[in-house]
């Protein structure tokens, strides 16, 4: 073969039988790939990184210690998730799936949710899950997800339970349809303590929504954002980026976000991953990698955002995401982050987790600012920062083809299960080609 294996061996899974496989990463031209072989199901190679050397992006971290692991190491990673004692990162965000129902039928959905008649978990069950999170992970950030959480009429009660238990930051992951149509509902969520929504937002063009979500939704997205502005709820725009559908919309999405700042707090890009039942293995052309998303951000904003302002994360594994933090000055983004040129230092994962938790809670929330001339200079500065910060980030989820178990062990986004366990997000969602999962019910 015409490639040079690097000294980057790792463990992955077979996308057919989900057994662990030895894998390695190799470079070919400027691209980086994963290669693995299952004795029964053959060889799999997948693109991981197109462009600048992936090795330079990696941040070495000293793994965190989980003080109260729920599960023991018995079968080995990734079959003991819970979190187990070999996990290397604390919970930054814990996800609770409050329903399996949804009011859309998207072509791309990691949750594989449908407008089914499945029963929602009772409030007592959700309270148990919050309490389980609290025991293992303390007062981390919470994301209520699904399904579509807003199909529940008692979502405000769910938020209130979390707030009463002391969780400082609660975000709802939503398509925004109900928030657009039901202002009283938005008001009730705010009154219950909702800080932020993670709004599915794939572009500013209905052709994109028709392709990805099955119907025109742009007007509803705008209305949902307006209602969040009215009641003081932060909005993070979350585009799923799919090759040949909305890659060219990346700049438009950022400009749209900026024009709706400060209530739109930032944009969080999610390059498409492949979960659920699919007829054939995704080809490399079906994927867009993180450096490509960053390149698109730079070129499509005409270099208003520069490459160096986007940096690898200190919390999760470096290969999972990028983030940039900015101040808006006269409509232009000025970077607050700067990529370090000497990243040979080993950082502590725990420190990264604490910083990321605080950043998300602070930068993705929104409170309407009161104009007060009596504010001190420093309070005016704090208020100006709160009004003018804007974040641009991206996270690529792993699927059965590109999964790297080291990234799973470094994961800080954990899904709470009905029996009180915490499963790393990608491990919870990974399915084999037939849609079979190791952890999702």
């Amino acid at each position: 073969m015409a490639f040079n294996p690097l000294s980057m061996p790792l463990e992955s899974l077979c996308p057919i039988c989900l057994c662990t496989l030895d894998a390695y990463i190799y470079e070919k031209g400027v691209n980086t790939y994963m290669h693995k072989e299952c004795l029964e199901h053959g060889v799999f190679t997948t693109i991981l990184w197109r462009g600048d050397s992936m090795r330079e992006w990696i941040r070495t971290k000293e793994g965190a210690h989980i003080p109260n692991p729920i599960t023991k190491v018995e079968k080995g990673c990734p079959y003991d998730c819970g979190l187990c004692s070999a996990h290397r990162q604390h919970t930054c965000t814990a996800l609770i799936e409050v329903t399996k129902r949804c009011n859309l039928n998207c072509h791309f959905c990691f949750a594989d949710a449908l407008d089914g008649k499945s029963k929602d978990p009772l409030l007592e069950q959700i309270q148990f899950q919050y309490e389980s999170i609290l025991k293992v992970s303390g007062k981390c950030n919470i994301q209520l997800s699904g399904g579509e959480p807003t199909v529940r009429d008692d979502l405000a009660d769910i938020i209130r339970i979390g707030k009463e238990l002391g969780f400082p930051f609660i975000q709802v992951n939503t398509n925004g349809i109900r928030l657009a149509k039901d202002e009283d509902y938005v008001k009730a969520l705010k009154n219950a303590g909702l800080n932020s929504i993670f709004l599915q937002f794939d572009g500013i063009d209905d052709a994109i929504y028709k392709k990805l979500r099955g119907k025109a939704l742009f007007e509803l997205k705008c209305k949902a954002i307006e209602n969040c502005r009215k009641y003081g709820i932060g909005v993070v725009l979350v585009p799923t980026i799919v090759p040949n559908i909305n890659v060219e919309s990346i700049g438009d999405i950022i400009r749209f976000g900026l024009s709706h700042s400060p209530y739109v707090r930032g944009v969080h890009f999610q390059p498409v991953s492949y979960f659920g039942r699919i007829p054939k293995a995704p080809s490399d052309e079906d994927r867009i990698t993180l450096p490509e998303v960053m390149e698109c951000i730079v070129s499509q904003t005409n270099h208003m955002v520069n490459l160096e302002s986007m940096q690898p994360p200190g919390c999760e594994n470096a290969l999972c995401s990028f983030n940039g933090n900015y101040l808006i000055e006269e409509g232009v983004l000025k970077p607050v982050t700067k990529r370090s040129c000497c990243s040979t230092n080993i950082e502590k994962a725990e420190v990264g987790a604490n910083k990321a938790k605080a950043f998300v809670a602070r930068n993705w929330s929104y409170e309407k600012q009161v104009q007060d001339e009596k504010l001190s200079d420093w309070d005016k500065i704090l208020s100006a920062i709160q009004n003018n910060t804007f974040s641009i980030s991206g996270m690529v989820f792993q699927d059965a083809w590109n999964v790297n178990l080291e990234r799973i062990r470094d994961c800080c986004i954990h899904v709470s299960t009905t029996d009180g366990k915490l499963i790393p997000f990608c491990m919870y969602n990974i399915t084999n080609m037939e849609g079979k999962s190791l952890y999702r019910d």
């Binding site: 933090n325 101040l327 950043f359 602070r362 200079d377 420093w378 704090l382 910060t389």
Partner: protein, 68 residues
Amino acid sequence: MKDHIETTTAWVCDKCDKALVSQKVKVRYLEGNFEVDLLKCPECNMVFIGEDLALGKILEVEKSLEDK
């Protein structure tokens, strides 16, 4: 930048033996530029930041600009 407020305080500059005055001072942190009232020696322009301020509002501003 001409000062807006100029009041003398109990603090005295050790080097110049002048009473510090409260004046607008330009502060720069990361890419942010701010202007705040701080105690300053009218002679050598050295700025005094007390512990309460350093560990209070200034720390808060620093944290609010920190990233992940």
